[in-house]
């Protein structure tokens, strides 16, 4: 812990060595976060770069009170979110449709690699990708997502349902086995 605080302190002093150390410690995980929110690896790289520059320039505002990983992750998510906002890709989708449910067997799950799932997520439309990531992976509530993205909770639910539907179809197409069940809601 002392080492970590020293690294942060050195980073604040502008030490390239300390910055490289910090980067190497968190970059793989944060790149994973960026990949989930980006449409492809190039965009994820851009976001990671921008995110880490922000981390280093705003490191003084981190008070060692919470989790550093949580703080840095939040920065990466915000950068990714901002990028999508700037690209005006947050088109509204308000319909709450009912979609078929899918159940995956453990065998199927075991077969699916994380990289493949990442690819499926990246192929989602930006808004669905955002909502799915925030709800399913980050564990945010629809209320929090609605506030974060300036949308209604209903829209958030609808987008999540649509994202799930697309993903299920794609999982089926990719990995074959799926069982259609009846309705579900967010």
């Amino acid at each position: 812990m002392e080492d970590f605080e020293q690294i942060i302190s050195d980073c604040n002093a502008g030490s390239r060595k300390a910055q490289a150390k910090l980067y190497q410690q968190f970059a793989p995980k944060m790149f994973g976060v960026c990949l989930r929110y980006a449409k492809d690896a190039t965009e994820a790289e851009d976001n990671l770069q921008e995110g880490f520059i922000k981390v280093f320039t705003n490191l003084k505002s981190f008070r060692n009170e919470g989790s550093f990983e949580g703080w840095i992750r939040r920065i990466m998510i915000n950068v990714s979110l901002e990028k999508i906002r700037k690209q005006h890709l947050l088109y509204p989708v308000e319909d709450v449709s009912i979609y078929d449910s899918v159940n995956f067997s453990d065998d199927v799950i075991a077969k699916i690699a994380a990289d493949d799932l990442m690819k499926l997520i990246q192929e989602l439309p930006p808004r669905y990708r955002l909502v799915f990531n925030l709800y399913v992976i980050e564990g945010m509530s629809h209320q929090e997502i609605a506030q974060e993205m300036s949308i209604t909770q209903g829209t958030s639910k609808s987008n999540l349902a649509r994202a799930r539907d697309i993903l299920k179809k794609k999982v089926h197409e990719t990995f074959g086995e799926w069982n259609a069940k009846n309705n579900y809601t967010a």
Binding site: Y23, Q49, I53, S101, I112, V136
Partner: protein
């Protein structure tokens, strides 16, 4: 829901802690970017510090120059340079000569503009060490006309140059000049810009805040009588003949908000007269035609009654009932036995005119709107006034002269009037204005409370005066 969780769990479990090594080149980019951001932040801080220091320096310099280089009251001048031989630095005595006769210099500048190689203040100062320095009067190409503000930096420059030139060592002096020239050069530019900015801001602020004008006006007032009476009253009434021209005037206070609208009030004195006479009456209705008057067969038929309450002599006039304080001297009364058309006890049989004078203090509230806003302003004005009666006298004018004989009964002590007018305003200077305002004032209620009398005159006046803006 369970099925959803199945899918969600699939993605969460596989991706929550998903890690992937980013490309190696990213680190270098990030470190370079972070260093650049730090540099940028430092540069911004240095820039802020630099601007603050420059402002402080300019302020101190301006203050110092202004405080130590006060030179009399020269006209607006700008320093100009004429071609001159090298090393011909003019020392203080020559400059003093120029100072002593600024008017001549100004004249020369006007007559011979082409001969002078006029250059900007900036370049003048740079060359001031080796060049022959002259002063040339010229209007400065700036927004302001405020001489004191504009002269300050130039005075500072002049004083500075004088001091520098008076130094003993030429080389040393040159070095000093080179150093100092840079300094006032910035100071002058900055000061002129700053002063112009301040003036513009002050003007804008003034317009926004509002301005005050105080003024004094006088006016001849021509009163036009408008009255109606009950039949009985009118049958025993003096004939209103003419309306004397009175004098009015007062002090006005005006608050101007914005460019167009202003509100005006003040205190005005307003005199109003009503002249009535007993007209010559033909003697056809007379039982006896000889009243012993000098007019022979005529008599004057101003009916007179005695007030039952006050036991005073009263006469009906257009403005109301005139109550005499006593029987006026020089009046000849006769009984009214002869003229059956009159319901009065007596008639004034000698020629006389009765002048009722009413004096009012008027407190107006006018709204003014500027139609034309330039050196010659044209404004529309309209509003209402409260008029307090402060004088009520009746005079009798006869062959024996003019004397105070009484007053008019039942005059209202407070009246209201409406006013419409046109204001013509000519700017004599920046703050003084000449005003000429034709106005029509109309009384909204009857000035007399007698139920048989409705007396609502209107007044036409041309108010002329001066106003001062601050």
């Amino acid at each position: 829901m369970k099925k959803d969780k199945n899918l969600d769990e699939l993605f969460r479990s596989k991706l929550l802690n998903y890690e992937q090594e980013p490309p190696a080149y990213l680190l270098e980019n990030i470190l370079a970017g972070a260093a650049g951001a730090r540099r940028k932040r430092k540069i911004v801080l240095w820039r802020i510090a630099g601007v603050a220091a420059a402002l402080l320096l300019a302020f101190v310099a301006g203050w110092q120059f202004n405080s130590r280089n006060e030179i009399g009251t020269e006209p607006q001048v700008i320093v100009s340079q004429q071609s001159a031989p090298e090393n011909a630095i003019q020392t203080a005595p020559e400059i003093k000569t120029l100072q002593a006769a600024p008017e001549n210099i100004q004249l020369a500048a006007v007559n011979e503009p082409a001969k002078n190689n006029e250059i900007s203040t900036k370049s003048i100062i740079k060359n001031s060490v080796s060049g022959k320095i002259n002063l040339m009067a010229e209007a400065l190409p700036v927004v302001s006309n405020d001489e004191t503000i504009l002269l300050k930096p130039l005075k500072s420059l002049f004083g500075l140059l004088k001091q520098d030139l008076a130094s003993a060592n030429l080389l040393h002096q040159k070095k000093l000049n080179d150093l100092k020239a840079e300094y006032p050069e910035k100071s002058i530019d900055q000061q002129i810009i700053e002063h112009n900015r301040q003036l513009t801001m002050a003007h804008t602020e003034n317009t926004r805040k509002g301005r005050w004008l105080i003024g004094a006006q006088v006016s001849p007032e021509y009163n036009v009588s408008r009255s109606s009476h009950s039949q009985v009253y009118a049958s025993n009434m003096l004939n209103a003949s003419s309306n004397p021209v009175d004098l009015g005037g007062g002090i006005s206070v005006e608050f101007k908000k914005g460019k167009r609208w202003s509100l005006q009030s003040g205190v005005y004195y307003s005199g109003m007269g009503q002249s009535s006479g007993n007209s010559a009456y033909p003697n056809r209705n007379l039982v006896s035609s000889d009243y012993g008057t000098e007019h022979g067969k005529e008599y004057f038929n101003a009916p007179v009654n005695i007030d039952s309450k006050s036991s005073k002599m009263i006469m009906n006039s257009a403005a109301g009932v005139i109550e005499f304080s006593g029987v006026p001297s020089g009046i000849v009364l006769g009984t009214n036995l002869e003229d059956k058309s009159l319901a009065s006890n007596a008639v004034v049989v000698s020629e006389a005119r009765f002048i009722q004078n009413f004096e009012y203090i008027e407190i107006p509230l006018y709204l003014r709107y500027s139609i034309l806003d330039s050196r010659f302003d044209v404004e529309m004005l309209g509003g209402f006034s409260s008029n307090v009666l402060v004088g009520n006298n009746t005079y009798m004018e006869s062959n024996t002269g003019k004397s105070l004989v009484g007053s008019t009964q039942n005059m209202e002590s407070l009246n209201y009037s409406g006013t419409l007018g046109i204001g013509l305003k000519y700017g004599l200077s920046k703050r003084f204005y000449l005003n000429v305002e034709p106005r029509v004032k109309y009384y909204l209620n009857s000035l007399n409370s007698n139920s048989s009398v409705t007396y609502k005159p209107y007044t036409i006046g041309v108010f002329t005066g001066l106003s001062y803006e601050f």
